[in-house]
Symmetry: C2
Subunit: 298 residues, 2 copies
């Protein structure tokens, strides 16, 4: 079934211990779309500026992503720049230029409205509410971040009450609930609305809460992480893409969706930018899925 994502499309300049990549294709909705495109029809809703390279548009199109909702506005594309530490789990944001993203007013084309599955990327919760108003989706997941949690609490609570699933970092569970204990934090979020919580823990994997059921997925052990930018968005794309492909919300499907998200996220970490996740082959996905089976079966 079709899947719509609304969020950022960006040009990222990233430094990691492995090197530097300037003005690479980035943004949450980009990584999400490319990951999900391996599983299902994706409708991408976002905005880029006049400087957005045509080759990136071509890549999205070549992956079969519907970009009717990718608006090209006057001005420059959203740019983010960051530097990772030797401990690759830590990074500093060096520069953020919202540019055309600052006045982003999501407008869903008809096909995007009709998608059964919807992912609300990390944008202002008032915009997430507006997207939800336009959409006819039956299953809705969202991402958020600390600035929305702290600055737009009431709007965030309003959207949380209306969605089925939230995919956030473990640190954001703490920001949102005040709970350092992830189980108690997840329970508090469930009380706010979504029954499905997927707290991402980076190199420690991901948990999945669905009602009273819990699943724990490992991360893929990697000796060389080149660039983790977009790994969390890739995870969300693989997770939602698999669910939309299977068109099922039973717990076995959700668990496999977590593994597919983790598989794709591991590939994103292997290279700078979004090419690796765009071009990863089905055979590679299958092979690493089996590696996750071996990694966690006893």
């Amino acid at each position: 079934m079709a899947l719509t994502v609304v969020g950022s499309v960006a040009l990222d300049t990233v430094e990691t211990p492995a090197g530097k990549n300037a003005d690479g294709l980035g943004g949450a909705a980009t990584f999400f779309s490319l990951a999900a495109s391996h599983y299902t029809q994706v409708h991408l809703v976002g905005v880029v500026g006049e400087d957005f390279p045509q080759e990136h548009v071509d890549l999205l199109s070549a992956k079969g992503i519907n970009i009717e909702g990718l608006e090209r506005a006057e001005g420059k594309t959203f740019r983010w720049s960051g530097r990772y530490h030797d401990d690759i789990n830590l990074r500093d944001t060096l520069d953020t230029q919202l540019n055309v993203f600052e006045n982003f007013q999501p407008k869903l084309p008809e096909a995007a409205k009709n998608a059964k599955y919807l992912f609300l990327g990390n944008i202002h919760p008032a915009l997430q509410l507006e997207v939800l108003r336009q959409s006819r989706a039956e299953f809705v997941a969202l991402d958020t971040m600390n600035i929305w949690i702290h600055n737009t609490r009431s709007e965030l609570e309003e959207i949380l009450a209306k969605v089925d699933c939230i995919i956030i970092n473990d640190e954001e569970v703490f920001d949102l609930t005040g709970e350092r204990n992830i189980v108690r934090g997840a329970r508090k979020i469930q009380d706010m609305g979504p029954s499905i919580i997927a707290p991402k823990k980076g190199e420690h994997g991901c948990l999945l809460f669905d009602g009273n059921k819990i699943f724990s997925a490992p991360a893929f052990p990697m000796a060389d992480v080149i660039d983790p930018t977009g790994a969390g968005d890739t995870f969300a794309g693989g997770f939602m893409g698999y669910i939309a492909q299977q068109d099922s919300l039973d717990f076995d499907t959700l668990k496999k969706a977590v593994i597919h998200g983790s598989v794709l996220a591991s590939y994103t970490c292997e290279e700078f930018g979004a090419d690796r996740i765009a071009l990863v082959g089905q055979d590679e996905i299958d092979t690493r899925y089996e590696a996750f089976v071996d990694l966690s079966r006893f």
Copy 2:
């Protein structure tokens, strides 16, 4: 097969957000022994002072632990006092009184020397070497900590070259190797000697490296951690106890050993002190083992 452990036996005073427990039975070798006693014959080698309550000796005996090597010396028992933060992963040591443990000179009784499996608890590596000289064990694992890593490096490297397995925290992998990446850190430790590395990650579970093979075990998600003191030592006891019981080192056995260690460690966290792990029933172990299967199977 029999299993010998050498390490601390202590009286712990612990404060956590759940409360306070004064002068409870503690020490690495204590938690290790009690955990391992659920699987195999354990020989405990350690030292206590004249103030060590007889009820603790009786508990160890009642669990079938051979305490012939538990020396009672003139003076006071090793005492440790600590306070945990609201984030239960963080703790401050308030006081350490080594007392009789300061001059501990391990002497293995004949039966302890003959045990096929040996665990060298977290003591000075020169003492670990002395224990190894006395022992006829065929499989040896060790624990260590930051002070030995930084202050007695050459002796630590000497013992590392002679053991088969090391069970340490992920932070100690960094202290020992300078590697924040756990895969590269484990490879560096393998180059120092042990082929089996079990880096414990607290609430994030545990990894297992055996040659080129890797296994990732989840932690048991707990809404209420009462007192995590001794959980790592309990893990090591369950891990080594299961291996000694099965008398096998194949990877499937090692993986199940990690889960048994994790099962017991989760019980240790449920109450203050060592009673919970001493008295946990076989039915409880089996039930939680199955919970780990459900938690990680997809």
